[in-house]
């Protein structure tokens, strides 16, 4: 079984994101970028499936600028066998990424596509679902446990108030949640080996995919600063404040 894992290059989780002064986006100049943490969990899951003998080959895919090569090299240092970069400097929205992944699925014929449930930069939580719809495949989203059972995939999903167990027919799309696993540390010699693993590059037009944005970004701004709390002297003052300042009663 072949697994395709999608990995996104996103702002590092330690970095405090800051809007550009003109509000046109997040300032990413010289900011540390890393693999989206949810995608790291997806890569880890693929490797565990390979180690368990369920998967033969793991192909990591990224869409974005040239620097996504580093993200793919990280995936390969963790254990992915090869990488595919669909290189573009244009903005790519979830639908465009889903279409690109669909084109690659048709090229590569994997049985499972693993993705993070969302990326920590835009929190869209759309790509996996859109990909499943475009392919007409089943989907297991927010996975916290994944098990291959013959021609089925048993997926436990994180839902409000607990977990939901489902089974989907293969081939399938799985988006992974935080509790699925804890990704391994990358070993130094594996970073070196990853440099020698194959990495193919395509452009969106090679795959005949139209990546034109469908959504327009209007403005990025910081959340309003939370006003500090105050101590009230008695119940009367509290009621007064709730009524006249907070206007909630």
């Amino acid at each position: 079984m072949k697994i395709l894992v999608a990995v996104k290059r996103a702002i590092d989780y330690n970095v405090k994101a800051r809007p550009k002064s003109d509000g046109s986006g997040v300032d990413l100049a010289n900011v540390k970028m890393s693999m989206n943490p949810f995608d790291e969990i997806a890569v880890e899951e693929a490797i565990r499936m390979q180690e368990a003998g369920v998967a033969e080959e793991i192909v990591a895919v990224s869409v974005g600028p040239k620097q996504c090569q580093e993200t793919l090299r990280t995936a390969m240092a963790m254990g992915a066998d090869r990488g595919i970069l669909v290189e573009t400097d244009e903005e790519v929205q979830p639908l465009a990424v889903a279409k690109i992944l669909k084109a690659l699925v048709e090229k590569e014929s994997p049985r499972v596509v693993l993705l993070g449930k969302q990326a920590i930069d835009d929190d869209s939580n759309q790509t996996g679902q859109m990909l499943a719809a475009l392919l007409g495949w089943g989907q297991g989203t927010f996975a916290c446990d994944v098990e291959v059972d013959g021609e089925q995939l048993k997926v436990n999903r994180e839902v409000d108030g607990g977990t939901q167990s489902i089974a989907v027919q293969l081939p399938a799309v799985v988006t992974v949640d935080l509790r699925l696993n804890e990704p391994r540390y990358v070993k130094l010699p594996n970073i070196m080996k990853a440099k020698k693993k194959p990495l193919d590059t395509y452009s969106p037009s090679d795959l005949a995919v139209d990546t034109a944005p469908r959504l327009k970004l209007i403005k990025v701004e910081e959340p309003p600063v939370r006003a500090g709390g105050v101590k009230v002297a008695d119940v009367d003052e509290l009621v007064d404040k709730l009524r006249n300042e907070a206007k909630v009663i």
């Binding site: 590092d12 100049a29 990358v186």
Partner: protein, 544 residues
């Protein structure tokens, strides 16, 4: 215990700062020029090259011109030439312009982000086939049977607080090399071990330090004067404490503002962080930042001992370059050019040694010899008496500096001495507490919101990397006699005295640590030893 794997290189460089990367680049240049096989690896504890780099920075491009003469074509991030130098003496209310001292003239120099410069230098190194591994800390020096350095080991990953192996445990890795270059920067944790093991500091003056605290601001366009460099002395320091500020206007509406204080300060109530905040409130300073936004924060110790504190630089199997050895030119307040040049010089000496067929561990003795003939030596020798003169206080020191630099031109027949910084602090009982103004959240800030902007993180479950030799000293000595000075000298809020069950205790918030090394330097009984935490932990400075 799990067995460690090993890898072999010709040269391993510990630290991906300007001096380490310059060493690696020069080595590979020489190898390619002469068609020699030479493998070079750089280890960097930050999550990426540049993540732990913090500097003013005004850079003198002298070493860069020698290393990569076509740096402009290669897109080096030196975008803002210095256009104007100002040197100002502050009193509480006034700013009195002084003549800029000769060392502080910056014609031909550039205002840069040293972090971004290192990111670029890292790319240049990789293009020359240097193996650059960021996110791996060199945690241990490896010695061969004869006692020579034979490489380093990276730290284990995934250990738990009690030292046991966690579920994702990954054992460290040994990197063996014919020559190991220590380029850890100021107060390197392995360099400190080397000083002792090989007696490298015998017969030289003790190293002395300063702590620099820096913020990066985006200011209103009308207030931005690209290329403007301002240095101040005087307020808020008293006349006996060595300290001064910098403000550099560069690139798109950015201003680097920082304050450096000599760690030989005497009053345990002094808080370098709060002095920095207070400095910004000066009437001649605050206007620059009004309406602006602080976008980054960080701190780092610097070596200030100069010429007379340079240790023996080589030993069997390795050598020391950059600010780990203390090549900072203090009156110039610059060390990037000297650090890089020391690395390039070391590279040339190492390359020569590796070409000869000597058996056994190499000691690149050619390195200090070449360095003594270079401009680095000349420059540092001339300036050697300026910093120690500040023991006498600001005004006598400035008078002395004028005589030493202008009349004697650095050729005074004497060399002044240093006192180690941990010996200079006075008991709290003999000092006045300092009442710092409360932060306003716009121009001045508290420590925690500041550390937040350094993007610092450490894996929480790991063992504490700030180790105490004696657990009783923080309360019994530091709190009792020095009013808990670690709470104040630490710019990241790592040290906190808290009361539990009616007893005071030191709490170490190691996750906050920005790797400045001040605690390792200033603790009065040298009870704190800073060791490397898990690789990639620490700050993630953008544009610093």
């Amino acid at each position: 215990m799990s067995e460690r794997e090993s890898m072999d290189f010709d040269v391993v460089v510990v630290g991906g700062g300007p001096s380490g990367l310059a060493t690696a680049i020069r080595l590979r240049q020489l190898a390619m020029e002469q068609g020699a096989d030479l493998t070079v690896c750089v280890l960097e504890k930050g999550s990426e090259v540049g993540a732990h780099i913090l500097s003013g920075a005004v850079i003198e491009p002298r070493a860069l011109n020698e290393l990569l003469p076509d740096w402009k074509d290669r897109g080096a991030p030196l975008h803002t030439p210095v256009s104007k130098d100002r040197f100002v003496f502050l009193t509480e209310k006034r700013a009195i312009p002084f003549i800029t001292p000769p060392q502080m003239h910056n014609e031909g120099n550039y205002i840069i982000s040293l972090g971004n410069f290192c990111r670029w230098l890292g790319e240049q190194a990789e293009a020359l086939e240097v193996e650059v591994y960021a996110g791996f800390a060199a945690a241990e020096i490896l010695y061969d049977d004869a006692g020579a350095v034979m490489g380093v080991a990276t730290g284990d990953m995934g250990r738990l607080k009690d030292g046991s192996e966690g579920p994702n445990f990954e054992v460290g890795m040994e990197l063996h090399a014919k020559q190991t270059v220590f380029a850890e920067g100021c107060r390197g944790s392995l360099t400190k071990q080397l000083f002792e093991r090989f007696d490298l500091r015998d017969g030289v003056e003790p190293q002395v330090y300063g702590i620099g605290i820096k913020e990066l601001w985006e200011v209103e366009p009308a207030k931005h004067q690209p290329g403007l460099v301002t240095h101040t002395v005087g307020w808020p320091m008293d006349m006996k404490t060595y300290g001064g500020s910098f403000q550099y206007h560069f690139e798109e509406n950015l201003v680097s503002v920082g304050y450096v204080i000599g760690l030989d300060y005497a009053n345990p109530y002094l808080s370098p962080f709060d002095e920095m905040q207070r400095f910004k409130t000066h009437p001649s300073v605050r206007d620059t930042f009004a309406g602006g936004k602080r976008i980054a924060y960080g701190a780092r110790a610097i070596s200030a001992g100069g010429f007379q504190s340079i240790p023996k630089l080589t030993f069997a199997g390795g050598l020391i370059v950059g600010d780990a050895a203390g090549f900072l030119n203090v009156p110039k307040i610059k060390g990037t050019h000297t650090g890089m040049k020391s690395g390039m010089t070391a590279a040339e000496a190492i390359f020569e040694e590796l070409q000869s067929d000597n058996a056994g561990a190499i000691e690149a003795r050619g390195y200090p010899e070449k360095l003594e003939r270079s401009w680095v030596w000349d420059e540092l020798y001339r300036e050697r008496n300026i910093k120690p003169a500040f023991h006498w206080g600001l005004l006598p020191a400035m008078a002395y500096s004028g005589i030493d630099s202008l009349l004697l031109r650095g050729k005074a027949p004497w060399t002044l001495h240093h006192r180690p910084d941990h010996t200079t602090v006075k008991p709290a009982a003999d000092c006045q507490p300092i009442d710092y103004p409360k932060p306003d959240g716009e121009l001045t800030f508290d420590k925690l919101s500041s550390v937040f902007l350094s993007n610092t993180n450490h894996e929480e479950e790991q063992p504490c990397h700030l180790t105490l030799k004696d657990d009783t000293i923080p309360v019994a000595l530091n709190l009792e006699k020095y009013a808990g000075l670690e709470q104040r000298y630490c710019p990241a809020g790592v040290y906190e005295f808290i009361e539990t069950d009616g007893k005071m205790q030191l709490q170490i918030n190691a996750q906050n640590c920005v790797h400045c090394k001040t605690c390792d330097i200033k603790d009065p009984s040298q009870n704190i030893t800073w060791v490397t935490p898990e690789g990639s932990g620490g700050p993630n400075y953008p544009n610093m």
